[in-house]
């Protein structure tokens, strides 16, 4: 047991969770108070002592599943599993008349029949049945072979494709509509849809867990944990984020902005007092008959910088630019004015898309579809974009402006026109460059980041939420 726990904690650490020695000891002590056969209680005990942030919960869950999955002969890939058969028997019994002669287990069912059982289980929200079906589906469709070095996602895709979840969803809605006489009101229809979507999601997770279990049985926990290792939300790389991760990041950005706003406001309020304000002290001394009894101090004026964001939205860095726009606009209450420009090889101002719009996602979608950013061929040309920017908007830069340039500076071997950045720096308060590429890639190939960098106040590597957060804090 001790070995498993140590291995488990080691894996948590390599997944990036900060687990201290004290927490380790606490976990060891906690599990002693928990009946070991109660898997859920065991899990919660470990979670309470080891996981101290909600965003780490997912990682914890995955690792937990891998390390404390049910192991044994019945879980191996070749055999169909005894429990599933038992459940299938029950299911058939429940289905009554439809029982086929000779076919006791699910193996005997045709694809259509399996789909039918699944449909029924979904209608009733029958958890045990869904679990059994997902097992059977994995055995049947995933085509898993021991020792085959293929990732879990491949099996998942194969299984889900055969289950045809889209079709299932449509059928469920049909059935729901038929059930009620006079049809559903739109509200009810929506609620039903939400309900079924959740159930289907549940099924998907069930299948995923099943595949993972089998892979663990096949390859061993350590190897499996390594392949499943995913970065924590704050460390996810913008450029390589999957769609699911992107959605998570978007959710994470809202609380992040609130956190930042609170921290910035606090810093301001508790900022040091300024030097003695002589005029004010003398003025207030009048009420004491000219004795300066109450010294007055100058309070430092909070800098409310104007922000100009100039972002490359060509394919290579689009995801990153979207996030930065998101973040900058979300905390625009901290800045007196935010103006945004986007470019590929042409450049366009997009500030108007953000005005009066509550939903930033929508605005960004508009930016991506409506802004006029293509000049010749739609490959990044920093030089041309900067030149146009200088000609059209250069005059509007003033000493309150901070300019953020976002991009990987991969210029497709065009002229750099770095003088624009130099001029910008003369007129504006700060010029920063945010680069979503890892530092080691800078200046390789057609990247000319250092050519611009020499004219900037700072160049920051900005690959994940943590770094982005750090930068914004630095800015305000």
């Amino acid at each position: 047991m001790l070995d498993v726990l140590t291995g488990f904690i080691g894996e948590l650490r390599s997944a990036g969770l900060p687990v201290s020695l004290t927490e380790n000891l606490d976990a060891m002590e906690a599990v002693q108070h928990i009946p070991i056969e109660d898997r859920d209680a065991f899990k919660y005990a470990l979670a309470a002592t080891l996981v101290k942030s909600n965003s780490h919960w997912r990682t914890f869950e995955t690792v937990f599943d891998v390390y404390f999955s049910l192991r044994g002969p019945q879980w191996s890939i070749e055999d169909t599993d005894a429990q599933a058969e038992a459940a299938a028997d029950q299911a058939q019994a429940r289905m009554g008349g439809e029982q086929r002669p000779g076919g006791g287990a699910m193996e005997g069912l045709s694809q259509e029949e399996l789909a039918e059982i699944l449909f029924k289980a979904m209608m009733r929200d029958d958890q045990a049945m869904m679990r059994a079906i997902s097992r059977e589906a994995v055995t049947r469709y995933a085509g898993m072979e021991p020792g085959r070095p293929v990732g879990g996602t491949y099996y998942l895709y194969r299984t889900l494709r055969n289950l045809d979840l889209e079709g299932l969803m449509a059928r469920l809605m049909e059935a729901a509509k038929e059930e009620v006489q006079g049809g559903l009101t739109p509200l009810e229809e929506r609620l039903m849809r939400d309900e079924y979507e959740l159930r289907i999601d549940q099924l998907r997770k069930e299948v995923e867990a099943e595949i993972r279990r089998r892979l663990v049985a096949d390859r061993g926990a350590e190897a499996m944990a390594k392949t499943l290792r995913k970065p924590l939300p704050e460390n996810v790389d913008f450029m390589h984020a999957t769609r699911e991760e992107l959605a998570q990041l978007r959710k994470a950005i809202q609380p992040l902005t609130r956190k930042l706003a609170v921290r910035l406001a606090r810093k301001r309020r508790h900022g040091r007092k300024g030097p003695l304000d002589f005029r004010s002290t003398v003025r207030h001394s009048l009420s004491y008959g000219g004795v300066p009894a109450e010294p007055k101090f100058k309070y430092p004026r909070p800098a409310k910088p104007e922000i100009v964001v100039v972002a490359d939205i060509s394919g290579s860095v689009a995801a990153f630019a979207r996030f930065t726009l998101h973040l900058v606009h979300a905390i625009s209450s901290q800045f007196s004015r935010v103006r945004s420009f986007v470019f590929v090889d042409g450049i366009d101002e997009v500030t108007r898309y953000f005005e009066g719009i509550e939903d930033i996602t929508e605005a960004i979608h508009k930016v991506n579809t409506e802004a006029d950013v293509i000049w010749v061929d739609g490959h990044s040309d920093y030089g041309h974009a900067f030149e146009v920017f200088w000609e059209r908007w250069g005059r509007e830069m003033n000493p309150k402006t901070s300019v953020l340039l976002l991009g990987d500076a991969r210029n497709n071997y065009h002229a750099s026109q770095a003088w624009v950045v130099k001029e910008l720096r003369k007129k504006a308060r700060h010029v920063y460059w945010l680069n979503p590429e890892p530092r080691s890639y800078w200046d390789t190939g057609d990247s000319i980041v250092s050519e611009y960098a020499s004219h900037c106040d700072g160049v920051f590597e900005c690959r994940n939420l943590k770094q982005l957060e750090g930068f914004v804090e630095h800015l305000a």
Binding site: P18, S53, M173, R193, R263
Partner: protein, 305 residues
């Protein structure tokens, strides 16, 4: 770790008992919650509860107090909270009086040299100590539950005040020495996560994240807290609330807002919710105009596949 106070006899025999106990005071806990409360007692550790607003973080601490029949001592955190508000303070007015009184007596006795140390010992004794919530919880003889509410509101520096009490259940007063807990109180800290708490604090606590409850539990909560509501209406309520939470809103409806909504619907005599009823009463669930508009749009127009 050297713990001066030892873990006492367990308050609860097992996790199911915690769950049962909480249910008896109208708090519906799931296994995770009950498990953490149970562990907190067995390990003698504080519990840090995090989660969105209105999911019953404070309520949990209150319910545990009610369940165990303990006195609830609450420390509401705010910006600018300091030692003298959280831990203890010397009652300097009383101290002054004491000195004054001594002086009068001294004039008669006229041997002030000797008595000075006497006075000093005297005025820094427990008679002159004003206990604040943290010290009070430590010194209590009877069982207490200490609730440190919204701990994320204090500054990072002030957090350090809590560390000694959380890990060793003791308070050091320079003039008096160390006050150790007579019995280990159950300690709950709540946080709305407006800032990251320090590692040192987190390390000393068990962590519990309270999220919005799932469908069945929320329905049960509605039925327990608003008994007038009918089963079918409660079902509709929680399903609509769940749909709303799936939307991208500025602020999602909390459990307490769900309960408010249920009460409102009962008062209005509505037995089943249609799109119109929902839209008309949305302002109870949602607190931003833009959220209300968005939700109203989503609810009245069903997406067709």
């Amino acid at each position: 770790m050297s713990q001066t106070a030892t873990v006492g006899t367990p308050r609860f025999p097992g996790v199911p008992d915690v769950r049962q106990g909480l249910r008896s005071v109208d708090y519906l806990a799931d296994d995770g919650i009950a498990g953490v409360v149970y562990l907190a007692d067995r390990l003698g550790k504080p519990v840090l509860i995090e989660g969105p607003a209105g999911t019953g973080k404070t309520e949990l601490a209150k319910s545990v107090a009610r369940m165990t029949g303990a006195r609830l001592i609450r420390l509401q955190c705010y910006e600018g909270l300091d030692e003298s508000k959280a831990l203890y303070e010397w009652n300097y007015k009383k101290q002054l009086l004491r000195i004054q009184a001594q002086r009068v007596m001294d004039e008669k006795a006229a041997e002030s040299d000797q008595t000075w140390t006497g006075i000093e010992d005297d005025i820094f004794s427990e008679d002159f100590l004003l206990t604040r919530p943290l010290l009070e919880a430590i010194r209590a003889e009877e069982p207490v539950v200490l609730l440190i509410d919204e701990v994320d509101r204090v500054e990072v520096e002030t957090e350090a005040l809590l560390l000694e009490i959380l890990s060793d259940y003791q308070v050091s007063i320079p003039e008096l020495g160390t006050v150790t807990a007579a019995q280990i109180p159950l300690v709950f800290l709540t946080s709305n996560n407006t800032r990251e708490l320090s590692e040192a604090l987190k390390r000393r606590c068990l962590y519990l994240h309270l999220d919005y409850p799932d469908l069945e539990r929320e329905k049960e909560i509605v039925l327990t807290r608003v008994p007038e509501v009918e089963d079918q209406l409660a079902d509709q309520i929680v399903r609509i609330v769940r749909s709303l939470r799936a939307l991208e809103l500025k602020k999602h409806p909390s459990v307490s807002e769900t309960l408010d909504w249920a009460r409102t619907l009962v008062l209005l005599g509505i037995n089943s919710i249609g799109a119109e009823e929902a839209t008309a009463t949305l302002h109870i669930l949602l607190k931003y105009q833009s959220d209300i508009q968005k939700a109203a749009k989503e609810l009245s127009v069903a997406q067709s596949a």
